[in-house]
Symmetry: C2
Subunit: 185 residues, 2 copies
Protein backbone atom coordinates (compact mmCIF):
# COMPACT_ATOMS: atom_id res chain seq x y z
CA UNK A 1 0.00 0.00 0.00
CA UNK A 2 1.31 3.42 -0.95
CA UNK A 3 1.49 6.22 1.57
CA UNK A 4 1.85 9.93 0.77
CA UNK A 5 4.96 11.15 2.56
CA UNK A 6 4.98 14.83 1.59
CA UNK A 7 8.23 16.20 0.19
CA UNK A 8 10.68 13.41 0.95
CA UNK A 9 13.90 12.91 -0.94
CA UNK A 10 14.42 9.16 -1.36
CA UNK A 11 17.21 9.27 -3.93
CA UNK A 12 19.56 7.34 -1.67
CA UNK A 13 22.06 5.86 -1.11
CA UNK A 14 24.62 8.33 -2.41
CA UNK A 15 28.41 8.07 -2.33
CA UNK A 16 30.04 9.91 0.57
CA UNK A 17 33.05 12.00 -0.42
CA UNK A 18 35.37 14.63 0.96
CA UNK A 19 35.29 17.84 -1.04
CA UNK A 20 38.56 19.73 -0.96
CA UNK A 21 38.98 23.46 -1.42
CA UNK A 22 41.53 26.10 -0.61
CA UNK A 23 39.96 28.41 1.97
CA UNK A 24 41.88 31.40 3.24
CA UNK A 25 44.96 29.90 1.66
CA UNK A 26 44.71 26.54 3.42
CA UNK A 27 43.37 23.16 2.31
CA UNK A 28 39.98 22.37 3.80
CA UNK A 29 37.81 19.29 3.44
CA UNK A 30 34.08 18.86 3.93
CA UNK A 31 32.08 15.63 3.92
CA UNK A 32 29.30 15.60 1.35
CA UNK A 33 26.88 12.95 0.11
CA UNK A 34 24.52 15.32 -1.68
CA UNK A 35 26.34 14.91 -4.93
CA UNK A 36 25.38 14.18 -8.50
CA UNK A 37 26.58 13.13 -11.91
CA UNK A 38 25.62 15.51 -14.72
CA UNK A 39 27.45 13.79 -17.56
CA UNK A 40 30.59 11.68 -17.89
CA UNK A 41 32.83 14.67 -17.26
CA UNK A 42 30.81 16.67 -14.74
CA UNK A 43 29.59 16.46 -11.17
CA UNK A 44 27.51 18.51 -8.76
CA UNK A 45 27.71 19.26 -5.05
CA UNK A 46 24.88 20.55 -2.91
CA UNK A 47 26.53 22.49 -0.08
CA UNK A 48 24.55 24.45 2.53
CA UNK A 49 25.46 28.12 2.30
CA UNK A 50 26.64 28.44 5.90
CA UNK A 51 29.62 26.16 5.31
CA UNK A 52 33.20 27.40 5.45
CA UNK A 53 34.11 25.72 2.17
CA UNK A 54 31.81 27.64 -0.17
CA UNK A 55 33.80 30.88 -0.27
CA UNK A 56 36.94 28.96 -1.21
CA UNK A 57 35.28 27.15 -4.09
CA UNK A 58 33.88 30.43 -5.34
CA UNK A 59 37.15 32.35 -4.96
CA UNK A 60 39.36 29.81 -6.73
CA UNK A 61 36.78 28.36 -9.08
CA UNK A 62 38.08 24.90 -8.23
CA UNK A 63 37.43 21.99 -5.89
CA UNK A 64 38.35 18.34 -5.53
CA UNK A 65 36.39 15.20 -4.81
CA UNK A 66 38.20 12.62 -2.70
CA UNK A 67 36.66 9.18 -2.41
CA UNK A 68 37.31 7.21 0.78
CA UNK A 69 37.06 3.47 1.35
CA UNK A 70 34.77 2.14 4.07
CA UNK A 71 37.68 1.73 6.51
CA UNK A 72 38.21 5.51 6.35
CA UNK A 73 34.75 6.17 7.74
CA UNK A 74 35.88 7.74 11.03
CA UNK A 75 37.99 10.49 9.50
CA UNK A 76 35.36 10.92 6.77
CA UNK A 77 32.65 11.48 9.33
CA UNK A 78 34.90 13.70 11.44
CA UNK A 79 35.39 16.09 8.52
CA UNK A 80 31.61 16.42 8.39
CA UNK A 81 31.10 17.28 12.04
CA UNK A 82 33.85 19.86 12.56
CA UNK A 83 33.94 23.13 10.66
CA UNK A 84 37.00 24.64 9.03
CA UNK A 85 36.01 27.82 10.84
CA UNK A 86 37.16 26.20 14.08
CA UNK A 87 39.48 23.34 13.13
CA UNK A 88 42.44 23.38 10.75
CA UNK A 89 41.72 20.32 8.62
CA UNK A 90 44.79 20.92 6.42
CA UNK A 91 46.91 18.98 8.92
CA UNK A 92 44.74 15.84 8.86
CA UNK A 93 46.09 14.53 5.57
CA UNK A 94 49.03 14.69 3.25
CA UNK A 95 47.72 17.10 0.63
CA UNK A 96 48.70 17.28 -3.02
CA UNK A 97 47.81 19.48 -5.96
CA UNK A 98 47.30 18.80 -9.64
CA UNK A 99 46.90 20.88 -12.76
CA UNK A 100 44.51 23.40 -11.25
CA UNK A 101 46.97 24.18 -8.42
CA UNK A 102 44.16 25.40 -6.12
CA UNK A 103 42.20 22.17 -5.56
CA UNK A 104 43.84 20.34 -2.64
CA UNK A 105 43.54 16.56 -2.71
CA UNK A 106 44.10 13.82 -0.14
CA UNK A 107 47.02 11.57 -0.98
CA UNK A 108 45.86 8.65 1.18
CA UNK A 109 42.38 8.49 -0.39
CA UNK A 110 42.23 6.02 -3.29
CA UNK A 111 40.52 8.31 -5.81
CA UNK A 112 40.77 12.05 -6.34
CA UNK A 113 39.09 14.14 -9.01
CA UNK A 114 40.14 17.73 -9.51
CA UNK A 115 37.36 19.89 -10.84
CA UNK A 116 36.92 23.33 -12.34
CA UNK A 117 33.77 25.15 -11.23
CA UNK A 118 31.70 25.83 -14.34
CA UNK A 119 28.40 26.93 -12.86
CA UNK A 120 26.77 27.68 -9.53
CA UNK A 121 23.03 27.23 -9.15
CA UNK A 122 21.68 29.43 -6.38
CA UNK A 123 19.26 27.55 -4.12
CA UNK A 124 17.56 29.17 -1.12
CA UNK A 125 19.88 27.62 1.47
CA UNK A 126 22.38 25.77 -0.73
CA UNK A 127 25.00 26.50 -3.33
CA UNK A 128 24.90 23.91 -6.07
CA UNK A 129 28.41 23.76 -7.46
CA UNK A 130 28.74 22.17 -10.88
CA UNK A 131 32.26 21.20 -11.84
CA UNK A 132 33.97 19.66 -14.81
CA UNK A 133 36.58 17.06 -14.04
CA UNK A 134 40.03 18.11 -15.21
CA UNK A 135 42.05 15.13 -14.00
CA UNK A 136 41.40 11.97 -12.02
CA UNK A 137 43.95 10.16 -9.86
CA UNK A 138 43.40 6.50 -8.95
CA UNK A 139 45.44 4.32 -6.66
CA UNK A 140 46.41 1.37 -8.87
CA UNK A 141 45.50 -1.05 -6.05
CA UNK A 142 41.82 -0.31 -6.79
CA UNK A 143 42.04 -0.61 -10.55
CA UNK A 144 41.31 -3.51 -12.85
CA UNK A 145 42.98 -2.30 -16.04
CA UNK A 146 41.53 1.17 -16.62
CA UNK A 147 38.41 0.39 -14.60
CA UNK A 148 37.75 1.08 -10.96
CA UNK A 149 37.00 -2.18 -9.14
CA UNK A 150 34.13 -1.01 -6.95
CA UNK A 151 34.33 -4.08 -4.71
CA UNK A 152 37.98 -3.38 -3.94
CA UNK A 153 37.35 0.33 -3.58
CA UNK A 154 34.43 -0.27 -1.21
CA UNK A 155 33.17 3.32 -1.10
CA UNK A 156 30.94 4.67 1.68
CA UNK A 157 27.26 4.97 0.84
CA UNK A 158 25.04 7.35 2.80
CA UNK A 159 21.32 7.25 3.59
CA UNK A 160 19.64 10.20 5.25
CA UNK A 161 16.68 8.55 6.98
CA UNK A 162 18.77 6.38 9.30
CA UNK A 163 21.90 8.53 9.06
CA UNK A 164 23.57 5.39 7.91
CA UNK A 165 26.89 4.57 6.29
CA UNK A 166 26.53 1.49 4.12
CA UNK A 167 28.88 -0.62 2.05
CA UNK A 168 28.35 -1.77 -1.52
CA UNK A 169 26.95 -5.31 -1.77
CA UNK A 170 27.02 -7.81 -4.62
CA UNK A 171 27.21 -7.28 -8.36
CA UNK A 172 24.15 -9.14 -9.62
CA UNK A 173 23.66 -8.10 -13.25
CA UNK A 174 25.09 -6.23 -16.22
CA UNK A 175 23.58 -2.99 -17.46
CA UNK A 176 22.47 -2.84 -21.11
CA UNK A 177 22.35 -6.65 -21.00
CA UNK A 178 19.89 -7.61 -18.26
CA UNK A 179 16.90 -6.33 -20.23
CA UNK A 180 17.76 -7.97 -23.54
CA UNK A 181 15.55 -11.00 -22.86
CA UNK A 182 12.52 -8.76 -22.52
CA UNK A 183 13.53 -6.91 -25.66
CA UNK A 184 13.65 -10.15 -27.64
CA UNK A 185 10.07 -11.01 -26.73
Amino acid sequence: MKRKMGVKNCLYPMPTVLVGALVNGKPNYITIAHVGIMDLASVSLGVAKFHYTNAGIRENGTFSINIPTTDMFRITDYCGIVSGKKVDKSVLFENFYGELRTAPMIKSFPINMECRLIQTVDFPKHDIFIGEIVETYCDTAYLDGDNVDIAKLSPILFTMDDRGYWSVGERFATAWEAGKELKAK
Copy 2:
Protein backbone atom coordinates in the same frame (compact mmCIF):
# COMPACT_ATOMS: atom_id res chain seq x y z
CA MET B 1 50.63 4.31 -6.23
CA LYS B 2 48.47 6.93 -7.92
CA ARG B 3 47.91 6.92 -11.64
CA LYS B 4 46.63 9.84 -13.72
CA MET B 5 43.51 8.65 -15.51
CA GLY B 6 42.57 11.76 -17.51
CA VAL B 7 38.95 12.91 -17.21
CA LYS B 8 37.30 9.97 -15.49
CA ASN B 9 34.11 10.27 -13.49
CA CYS B 10 34.42 7.98 -10.46
CA LEU B 11 31.43 9.27 -8.48
CA TYR B 12 29.84 5.83 -8.41
CA PRO B 13 27.81 3.89 -7.51
CA MET B 14 24.64 5.85 -8.13
CA PRO B 15 21.03 4.75 -7.62
CA THR B 16 19.32 3.51 -10.78
CA VAL B 17 15.82 4.90 -11.29
CA LEU B 18 13.13 5.11 -13.90
CA VAL B 19 12.25 8.66 -14.84
CA GLY B 20 8.66 9.11 -15.91
CA ALA B 21 7.36 11.79 -18.25
CA LEU B 22 4.37 12.35 -20.45
CA VAL B 23 5.62 12.36 -24.04
CA ASN B 24 3.20 12.98 -26.89
CA GLY B 25 0.38 12.42 -24.41
CA LYS B 26 1.57 9.00 -23.24
CA PRO B 27 3.56 7.89 -20.17
CA ASN B 28 7.16 7.09 -20.97
CA TYR B 29 9.94 5.81 -18.72
CA ILE B 30 13.69 6.05 -19.12
CA THR B 31 16.37 4.39 -16.99
CA ILE B 32 18.81 6.86 -15.46
CA ALA B 33 21.64 6.55 -12.95
CA HIS B 34 23.21 9.93 -13.66
CA VAL B 35 21.21 11.59 -10.94
CA GLY B 36 21.96 13.90 -8.06
CA ILE B 37 20.69 15.38 -4.83
CA MET B 38 20.78 19.18 -4.72
CA ASP B 39 19.13 19.68 -1.35
CA LEU B 40 16.54 17.81 0.72
CA ALA B 41 13.74 18.81 -1.64
CA SER B 42 15.52 18.77 -5.01
CA VAL B 43 17.10 16.35 -7.43
CA SER B 44 18.87 16.44 -10.78
CA LEU B 45 18.87 14.22 -13.85
CA GLY B 46 21.52 14.17 -16.54
CA VAL B 47 19.77 13.05 -19.72
CA ALA B 48 21.49 12.91 -23.11
CA LYS B 49 19.75 15.28 -25.51
CA PHE B 50 18.91 12.63 -28.09
CA HIS B 51 16.48 10.86 -25.75
CA TYR B 52 12.74 10.76 -26.39
CA THR B 53 11.91 11.80 -22.83
CA ASN B 54 13.47 15.28 -22.82
CA ALA B 55 10.79 17.02 -24.90
CA GLY B 56 8.09 15.72 -22.56
CA ILE B 57 9.84 16.98 -19.43
CA ARG B 58 10.30 20.35 -21.08
CA GLU B 59 6.73 20.58 -22.40
CA ASN B 60 5.01 19.68 -19.15
CA GLY B 61 7.60 21.01 -16.72
CA THR B 62 7.23 17.83 -14.68
CA PHE B 63 8.75 14.39 -14.27
CA SER B 64 8.74 11.52 -11.81
CA ILE B 65 11.43 9.39 -10.23
CA ASN B 66 10.48 5.77 -9.67
CA ILE B 67 12.79 3.65 -7.54
CA PRO B 68 12.93 -0.09 -8.27
CA THR B 69 14.09 -2.89 -5.98
CA THR B 70 16.89 -5.19 -7.12
CA ASP B 71 14.41 -7.87 -8.23
CA MET B 72 12.99 -5.42 -10.77
CA PHE B 73 16.34 -5.17 -12.56
CA ARG B 74 15.22 -6.77 -15.84
CA ILE B 75 12.39 -4.35 -16.55
CA THR B 76 14.55 -1.50 -15.24
CA ASP B 77 17.32 -2.35 -17.68
CA TYR B 78 14.83 -2.93 -20.49
CA CYS B 79 13.52 0.63 -20.15
CA GLY B 80 17.09 1.80 -20.69
CA ILE B 81 17.75 -0.14 -23.88
CA VAL B 82 14.54 0.55 -25.79
CA SER B 83 13.53 4.04 -26.84
CA GLY B 84 10.05 5.50 -26.50
CA LYS B 85 10.46 6.51 -30.13
CA LYS B 86 10.04 2.85 -31.06
CA VAL B 87 8.36 1.14 -28.12
CA ASP B 88 5.24 2.18 -26.23
CA LYS B 89 6.42 1.88 -22.63
CA SER B 90 3.11 3.15 -21.26
CA VAL B 91 1.75 -0.40 -21.36
CA LEU B 92 4.56 -1.92 -19.27
CA PHE B 93 3.22 -0.73 -15.94
CA GLU B 94 0.10 0.36 -14.17
CA ASN B 95 0.54 4.13 -14.23
CA PHE B 96 -0.79 6.64 -11.75
CA TYR B 97 -0.72 10.42 -11.39
CA GLY B 98 -0.44 12.72 -8.42
CA GLU B 99 -0.85 16.42 -7.80
CA LEU B 100 1.02 17.54 -10.89
CA ARG B 101 -1.24 15.46 -13.16
CA THR B 102 1.42 15.23 -15.90
CA ALA B 103 4.11 13.17 -14.16
CA PRO B 104 3.24 9.51 -14.70
CA MET B 105 4.39 7.13 -11.96
CA ILE B 106 4.74 3.36 -11.70
CA LYS B 107 2.36 1.82 -9.20
CA SER B 108 4.36 -1.39 -8.71
CA PHE B 109 7.61 0.44 -7.87
CA PRO B 110 8.03 0.93 -4.11
CA ILE B 111 8.91 4.64 -4.19
CA ASN B 112 7.74 7.41 -6.49
CA MET B 113 8.63 11.08 -6.31
CA GLU B 114 6.75 13.57 -8.45
CA CYS B 115 8.81 16.58 -9.36
CA ARG B 116 8.31 20.01 -10.84
CA LEU B 117 11.04 21.13 -13.23
CA ILE B 118 12.58 24.28 -11.78
CA GLN B 119 15.67 24.72 -13.93
CA THR B 120 17.41 23.19 -16.92
CA VAL B 121 21.17 23.47 -17.23
CA ASP B 122 22.25 23.23 -20.85
CA PHE B 123 25.25 20.94 -21.30
CA PRO B 124 26.82 20.22 -24.70
CA LYS B 125 25.18 16.81 -25.12
CA HIS B 126 22.97 16.60 -22.04
CA ASP B 127 20.01 18.36 -20.51
CA ILE B 128 20.44 18.64 -16.77
CA PHE B 129 16.93 18.74 -15.37
CA ILE B 130 16.63 20.08 -11.83
CA GLY B 131 13.35 19.33 -10.13
CA GLU B 132 11.76 20.07 -6.80
CA ILE B 133 9.89 17.20 -5.21
CA VAL B 134 6.19 17.93 -4.82
CA GLU B 135 5.05 14.65 -3.30
CA THR B 136 6.60 11.31 -2.45
CA TYR B 137 4.76 7.98 -2.40
CA CYS B 138 6.22 5.05 -0.44
CA ASP B 139 4.98 1.51 -0.23
CA THR B 140 4.49 0.94 3.50
CA ALA B 141 6.21 -2.46 3.20
CA TYR B 142 9.53 -0.61 2.81
CA LEU B 143 9.02 1.85 5.64
CA ASP B 144 10.15 1.77 9.23
CA GLY B 145 7.95 4.47 10.72
CA ASP B 146 8.50 7.49 8.49
CA ASN B 147 11.90 6.25 7.35
CA VAL B 148 12.74 4.22 4.28
CA ASP B 149 14.39 0.95 5.30
CA ILE B 150 17.12 0.81 2.67
CA ALA B 151 17.87 -2.87 3.35
CA LYS B 152 14.24 -3.80 2.69
CA LEU B 153 14.04 -1.48 -0.30
CA SER B 154 17.24 -2.90 -1.80
CA PRO B 155 17.64 -0.34 -4.58
CA ILE B 156 19.76 -0.92 -7.68
CA LEU B 157 23.18 0.72 -7.69
CA PHE B 158 24.97 1.37 -10.97
CA THR B 159 28.67 1.59 -11.80
CA MET B 160 29.79 2.72 -15.24
CA ASP B 161 33.22 1.07 -15.55
CA ASP B 162 31.91 -2.50 -15.38
CA ARG B 163 28.37 -1.62 -16.45
CA GLY B 164 27.35 -3.24 -13.21
CA TYR B 165 24.16 -3.39 -11.19
CA TRP B 166 25.01 -3.76 -7.52
CA SER B 167 23.00 -4.21 -4.35
CA VAL B 168 23.44 -2.28 -1.11
CA GLY B 169 25.58 -4.09 1.45
CA GLU B 170 25.80 -3.69 5.22
CA ARG B 171 25.13 -0.72 7.44
CA PHE B 172 28.39 -0.33 9.35
CA ALA B 173 28.26 3.06 11.05
CA THR B 174 26.15 6.10 11.89
CA ALA B 175 26.75 9.46 10.26
CA TRP B 176 27.43 12.45 12.56
CA GLU B 177 28.43 9.87 15.20
CA ALA B 178 31.29 7.85 13.78
CA GLY B 179 33.70 10.79 13.90
CA LYS B 180 32.93 11.90 17.45
CA GLU B 181 35.83 9.93 18.95
CA LEU B 182 38.28 11.85 16.79
CA LYS B 183 36.56 15.09 17.74
CA ALA B 184 36.99 14.36 21.44
CA LYS B 185 40.77 13.94 21.05
